[in-house]
């Protein structure tokens, strides 16, 4: 079950990537609007960065027991 779901996900992502490369942007406001597949790359990097940074921040002491203030 989970395996099938995973393959469906990969299939959908492949389609997204193809579309992201093929569809030309409406406007070219920024330099990255010229890079094919930039949105896919950025979405993946953003997720990785946020999960890792949250994990690191939680390890720095920003995360405390619930009775920290008592």
């Amino acid at each position: 079950m989970e395996g099938t779901l995973r393959w469906i996900l990969y299939g959908v992502l492949a389609l997204c990537l193809v579309a992201d490369v093929v569809v030309p942007p409406e406007h070219r406001y920024f330099f990255w609007d010229r890079i094919p597949g930039f949105n896919a790359f950025y979405g993946f990097s953003a997720a990785v960065i946020i999960i890792i940074v949250a994990e690191l921040l939680a390890g720095t002491g920003l995360r405390q027991d619930e009775d920290f203030y008592e």
Binding site: R6, L9, V12, L13, C16, L17, A19, D20, V23, P24, P25, E26, H27, Y29, F30, G37, N39, A40, F41, Y42, G43, F44, S45, A46, A47, V48, I49, I50, I51, I52, V53, A54, E55, L57, A58, G61, L62, R63, Q64, D65, E66, F68, Y69
Partner: protein, 586 residues
Amino acid sequence: MPQWLHPGMVLIAGAFVVPFLRGSVRQFYLVFLTTGALFTMTGLTEGVYGVLHILHEEVAFTRVDKLSLVFGYVFSVAAIIATIYSLNEERGWHHTAALVYAGSAIGVVFAGDFVTLFVFWEFMAFSSVFLILLRKEEESYNAAYRYILVHVFGGLCLVAGFKLLFMETHSIEFARIGIDSLGGMLVLTGFLVNAAALPFNAWLPDSYPRATLGGAVFMSVFTTKSAVYALIRGFEGTDVLIWLGIIMAVYGVLYAMMENDIRRVMAYSIISQVGYMVAGIGVGGELAVNGVTAHAFSHILYKGLLFMAAGSVLFVTGTARMTELGGLRTRMPITFILYMIGALSISAVPLFSGFVTKSIIFEAVAQKHLAYPYLLLMLAAAGTFLYTALKIPYLVFLGTEKPASRKAHDPPANMTMAMVIAAGLCVLLGLFPQPLYGLLPHGMDFHPYTVDHIVSTLSLLGFALLGFVLLKGRLVRIPGINIDTDIFYRFGGRAFLWIARKVFTTTDDFVSGLYQRVFLNGGWLVAVRSWRFDAGVIDGIVNGVANFFVGLGQALRRFQTGMLPDYALSILIGLFVILNLFFLLF
């Protein structure tokens, strides 16, 4: 019938009837009253009403224009939804507090001048605090205390700022302010406190998760969004807000990713979403203002929905901690679906409301060629998707069942109904954005559903999903709380108490020592030398004086064991009253 009726005043006046009604009559009345306020709103036409002359000043009680109307509409709709959600709340005064709060927020958006604005602003703070207190847990009392402290501070900044502005311009009209003067900066600070901007953000995640279930839904709507309205009105195009908003957007995402309590995740999510709006206000211009207004509109609906879903989980399971939940999908199927609609809306997935409103802000940022802001807001957009649409569903609704989730079931009908209405509006807005666009303050020709826009959004979110699937083992999944900027006033308060204790103890020791040396020793000497005097008389005097000092010592001791917030609050309220009098009279 008068020519106009203030919808906020309808709610405030009607609120005090609620405690005297019972059962279904009360429920009917609540729905009738809130719907009535919305209908009053539709009867308003643009213009200035209720001008009073006070102290040679024209006080414009009500100003109706497109900007205030669109906020007024969404506030009244939210009041209806949140009221339906809290219909099973038995305590009449809870409804009174909630409706006065909602009415005051509507009063804020229709206020034409500083005086009216300030009065409603304070009403908001002092009515909403009851929504925290009425949860009746010790932590709620403490959080309510800190909540009111922070808002009194914000109110002080506002009133001081208004007074300075008035001395400069001799006008109390609430129009564009700007930060060219000290007065402007003080007013900005007052607004930012309510917008939960850094570093004044911590009151929000401190208090909302400690409010009652319905109370949190009300609070998620009014305080921050009325501040967004006030910021649009007073500070559109102020550059510093761009970066402030971006910091809020990213900060909110990171903290939400670390949180364990669903309602605290939602609280940080508000900070993050309001960050988009604050950044948009900083960008300025017609498109940006439209974007911010539209986003506030859709945000109120989906954030209300998410808070209602989180509240429902807490209501049926007794906990909102993700570490104690799991597998709720089969036990709360309706809540799960409705939650997902809210989550997809906030994540700006095509066909849902966030998509058609957040994109206007992005477009405004892009048209000004602000590259770094654009990239960081995109990062936060991916992050929003991570914690609302992926992390919470993964940990709470999917996964394995924990003991707390065994007793879960879908919440009572009124709570489900409120969520259905909110979810329906989220989908409707997503499918048919043009009616909302028509309500916005400026005319615009904007079409969110272009191939490029749909594809780029789906790629961004789809690959964020891939990142989540690969890294889901590294999510922060430990019970606990995040240290936020409230540590300064929570531990700062303790430092003050420690100093106070030192001072009082030293004084106490000194007084006791004085008493020993002067009165006891002195008295003894006098007694010995003047043996002819009746020892009883001397003793009587000495004992009397001694008792006085013992009493004084005890009084002081009572001070030193007193809670610091008591001093701080009384000092602040005292200052507040004195400054208000000062500013109003001179």
